[in-house]
Symmetry: C2
Amino acid sequence: MKLKAVIRDIYSGGPLIISLSTATAHKLDLFPGDRVKVSAHGKYVIAVSDISEELRKDEIGILAEVNKCLNLNDGELVSIEPTETPQSLTYIRKKLDNKKLTKDEIFSIVDDIVDNVLTEAEVAYLISAAYINEFSMEETESLVRAMALSGEILRWKDKRILDIHCIGGVPGNRTTPIVVPIIAAAGVIIPKTSSRAITSPSGTADTMEVLTNVEIKDSEQVKRVVNRISACLLWGGALNIAPADDKIIRIEKPLSLDPTAMLLSSIMAKKYAVGSTHVLIDIPLGYYAKVESEARYKELKTKFEDLGRRLHMTVKVIKTDAKGPIGKGIGPALEARDVMWILEADERGPEDLKDKSLMLAGTLLEMAQVAEKGKGIKTAKEILHSGKALRKMKQIIEAQGGDSSITSKDIEVGEFSYDFRAEKSGKVTYFRNHGLSISRLAGAPKDKKAGIYLHKKLGEHVEEGEILFTVYSESKRKLDEAVEYAIDNFPIIIK
Amino acid sequence: MKLKAVIRDIYSGGPLIISLSTATAHKLDLFPGDRVKVSAHGKYVIAVSDISEELRKDEIGILAEVNKCLNLNDGELVSIEPTETPQSLTYIRKKLDNKKLTKDEIFSIVDDIVDNVLTEAEVAYLISAAYINEFSMEETESLVRAMALSGEILRWKDKRILDIHCIGGVPGNRTTPIVVPIIAAAGVIIPKTSSRAITSPSGTADTMEVLTNVEIKDSEQVKRVVNRISACLLWGGALNIAPADDKIIRIEKPLSLDPTAMLLSSIMAKKYAVGSTHVLIDIPLGYYAKVESEARYKELKTKFEDLGRRLHMTVKVIKTDAKGPIGKGIGPALEARDVMWILEADERGPEDLKDKSLMLAGTLLEMAQVAEKGKGIKTAKEILHSGKALRKMKQIIEAQGGDSSITSKDIEVGEFSYDFRAEKSGKVTYFRNHGLSISRLAGAPKDKKAGIYLHKKLGEHVEEGEILFTVYSESKRKLDEAVEYAIDNFPIIIK
């Protein structure tokens, strides 16, 4: 059936949706929520139909996500037909029945996720299946390959392509923008892509965006940058790296599910897609981190290393301490300032963030055989202290389209702020993750200048009346909300 | 935040959706797909927000399903605020972790499904959990109670309230409209609610709608009808009987999942809601039926009977043969004609449908102790042959708002038809369920007059050139589609 497109400026936030009048839906034997094939200009999408009485019989409402694929103008003719159930649903069902999936079956599922052929409910079935009936390592390997190959793939002439990943959950843990310039200053290639925050106050991409542009869509341009200066610090989303991952994460979110196969493939697919050969994975271990037990750490370490062998990558997994936040700033600008202070050798640079970054950089340099075993940290330190890492960071900032003259002084934090002071003297003993919620309420990550600055860190002594932490925001209302929340959910205990 | 309602005549087909401008979503820190609480006139709903650039900053788009709850007019003020994750998600997660749920937890989940607080993906997680980590009988009992109590509840003065349910999958198996008048004619109450077709060419409610109105929303009116004539034959959907069930079935559909707890509670919640005391459950067993193995039949029988004891209902489960279709018509009008022929004692009434209906009615009469053990079928036969069942059916038709003078002659079938004839002589040995798809393609159940009429049944002898079956439709185009499909997927094999 041919219908006239009515372009709607409506975003569903994921699902591909078109609208039909009741009469047209009736003609096609479609109920709201049924799947249809919509085609125009030789392209097609599988979309879900809803019913809109605002449309005439010969019209089809095209929502924004559908039009991203079809690029239609108002009034253009579109073909629509009911479509069969996608084959990939059979495979998801198979996994619910705890049967092993073949490589082709896993590729079919991932392709249908990327093409938005599967509804959110259907992806939820896949996640449940993976959560309860665990994927074997063979299946996980296929999942990594399918997720990587469904998006952009970068390949390089060099034999050593380094990469680093810190598993989330620890506030302020912004080591990557320090590690990457150190590695690149040592002459080793590290084409780093990162994510934006989903539930946290900042992702590495959000923090880097305070300093420079992080969205480059053209992979050829990325290659030119990396071949010239050995590094980049970009948002993976713009580059379309492993695009299935974002959709899966979105659907995992409400139940905080993270099946092992999804956790492993989310990370490894991105590394495989950008062509990494040597990957360091930092697993913060502790009550407030994503990984809470030694047993879970060991399981993940074994599986990451196994996947590394299967994908011909050298993977090293280390655990780090996650008792409290790393660094002092939480929120994009406050974290970016910590990073720049360390690169500038400013004494305000937080020691713990610097030490952890040097340890990670040192480990990577040893993995890449740029430093001898046991000498990695020393080499990293030399590069940092010599100012080479700062110069490399400025090269990255400039290559991605930013202003390389930027310094820590240029980084602005929220106009409105509130100091929380110690009500008694003692030792800072407890830092609850409430700090994350306070920063979110203050406006981070959308408001780059919002967040928290920790004047006192875990284990430090504080005198009564001294500032414990400051909340920053660009909005008086949001500051008030964050402060109110912080009073009820105080993140620090003094003993 | 207060926003002006913009009423949209858009149906999502289930999910509660509101729209916001980007600016407003930003202000509320909402991403498309996030959950919000929308309130007005002292009522509220939890809805999912999408982004519409067609709206101004101070406006909120209210889609049809939301407005069913809030009853707003254009321009009215609505409060909107971000909402916390519903507690029921924790319980769904708990079941994914294979832990037992309490009664309160199950009630919380079902309430949130009925109130549309849970997204389709979240309901899919519940279904997966129930599918893989089976519900105990105790949990299933809670699920039945929760599903029943979330909708309309009917209660009666009589001690014997009969009910019957045939588990689906067998084409033409329209025994209910024959059984119900027989039982009611014997003076026993049988307030029957049925469903409409979801994927089949007709549900009992669709077939009954050929003869009379099946939608009564007011439960008091239903009670008056049943107290007067002992029976009704209504669509349960209009009465809001166990409303969670429809939503669950909808989300199970794409993967054809039907976890045992959902199958049991879908049936038993409706029986519990309408106040049944004696329930007969017919499980057709065979390759093309929903239940394929003796072991599965026995499992279901045990569980249905166990649930009966828990709910203080007498439940009897029997298995019937499902080698081929029952009756000759498939599709609402064609089935209604078979039913009326049998009630009218017309020789065209299909024998197998009559025999099965008499066996089911007889069993129910024995359960209700209206007939002595072993005499049920005899009593049922007497009621049918005396014309009492036909008179009762006419009472039902009239009480529900139909014309009681209707006879089988008044039932019209599709204007366009096509006869398929036998290409050789032999025995009809194989009836594939393709017949269902042919009937759907011809327009059933929306086109009441569409469907198939089987001139020859399983095991019958056919001469070359004799008509095997006729396809009916109200649309020439749909008839052609159905015929084309039937040629490629021929439902009968002659041996």
